[in-house]
Amino acid sequence: MNFPLIASHLGLFVEGILTTLRLVGASLLIGLIVAIPCAIMRTSRNPLINGPIWLFTYIFRGTPLLIQLYLIYYGLAQFPQIRNGPLWPFLSEAWWCALLAFTLNTAAYTAEIIRGGILTMPRGEIEAAKACGMSMLLRYRRIILPSAFRRALPAYGNEVIFMLHASAVASTVTLIDILGAARKFNGMFNTYEGFLVAAPIYFVLTFTLVGGFRLVERRWLRHLNLRSS
């Protein structure tokens, strides 16, 4: 490997890391905020409330993220109403399209993960909260959601890693994320060594996240592994 050449273009890869982290971080945060009401609606027995959310998660979990991104970035430009519409300054930019696609995708997966946490809630805890006279809002805020989040934590950790890895498709819509930086480097010097720089960067980020989630789980799920620790 040509290390001096790579070292002289370190800035490109740093830019890539920052783009990936910003994109993944922002979509995870917004996705989580969207996912919470979706998860609650998804547990409703009223089909008018849970039906639309079911359809949303079914579509976004059943198709590849790459296609979702292409539909938004390349697809929406087909319609003159959108090209002349108020949102065009955003929808013509790869960054906002990627953010939108990633956010919707992770919101769909996260909603199902949190729903799983809500459904496995012990009935007695909800009954106890009702018996104390808690309103529905208070029940969700104080009892159901904190408990559901804890149980959802391992699955959510996987979703975060999945999102980091899936974010590499951003490079296909001209964004200079980590893989985008590698591809730009390869194009400049007619090599493929950029990929060999990108891979260890993703590797380190992945296992930093894995370690981080292990720490959080050890703290928040302490009541579950008294014997093993």
Partner: protein, 224 residues
């Protein structure tokens, strides 16, 4: 939404996606099984090699691995064939795609199969050996049928992730449903319609898969 006669073309791309997915699944299952047995083996070197493989693959995005294996493999092959005086060899992108996807998802299958093997009670294998079964026979008649029931849910999840990941082969130049939809959409200036059709193809594939997996779990799963 009109596909202007590109429908059959899209379907042939969809068929390629299905072929690619199923062959990759086969490769991934074989690699996963051997690697799971290696992880549980008493030979340190095998355990170490399998651990290295699964850790490395699961730490790097599938798209990055695919590009490394595809371009890196091509360059390595060129250098090797040049040294041997064979001239230029072009990798068949379909075979490269199958091997790459199989190699990547083999790492995920390893974890699924490892857990499933460990879920089969130790006494089963001990009993098999005690009545004189060979290693191979005990694996085929005792371990395999029992572990697959435990492996089914994880196996199904891996398949659902992998069939969607096949869309990435369009980036390395395979004429799958994504690439055909992309080209048709560009030439007719209807990118949305064609990507929507591609999305529906994937939705159909995942829906059929989920139904089949649910059936398989009802018949062969732990609750059956």
């Amino acid at each position: 939404m009109s596909l202007h006669g590109y429908g059959p073309h899209l379907l042939s791309g969809a068929w390629l996606t299905v072929e690619l997915g199923l062959l990759s699944l086969l490769v991934a299952a074989l690699i996963g099984m051997f690697s799971a047995l290696a992880k549980l083996s008493s030979i340190t070197l095998l355990r170490f090699a399998a651990q290295f493989y699964t850790t490395l693959i699961r730490g790097i995005p599938d798209l990055v691995l695919m590009l490394i294996i595809f371009y890196g493999g091509q360059i390595a092959l060129n250098q090797a064939s040049e040294a041997l005086g064979w001239g230029y060899i072009n990798i068949n992108p379909f075979i490269a795609g199958v091997l790459t996807l199989g190699f990547i998802y083999g790492a995920y299958m390893t974890e699924t199969f490892r857990g499933a093997i460990m879920a089969v009670p130790r006494g089963q294998m001990e009993a098999a050996f005690s009545i004189g079964m060979s290693q191979k026979l005990a694996f085929r008649r005792i371990l395999f049928p029992q572990m697959m029931r435990h492996a089914l849910p994880g196996f199904g999840n891996n398949w659902l992730v992998m069939i969607k990941a096949t869309s990435l082969v369009s980036i390395i130049g395979l004429e799958d449903v994504v690439r055909i939809g992309d080209m048709a959409g560009k030439s007719l200036h209807q990118p949305f319609d064609f990507f929507l059709a591609v999305a529906l193809v994937f939705l159909a594939l995942t829906t059929v898969s989920v139904i089949l997996l649910r059936w398989a779990e009802a018949h062969y799963g732990l609750e059956a």
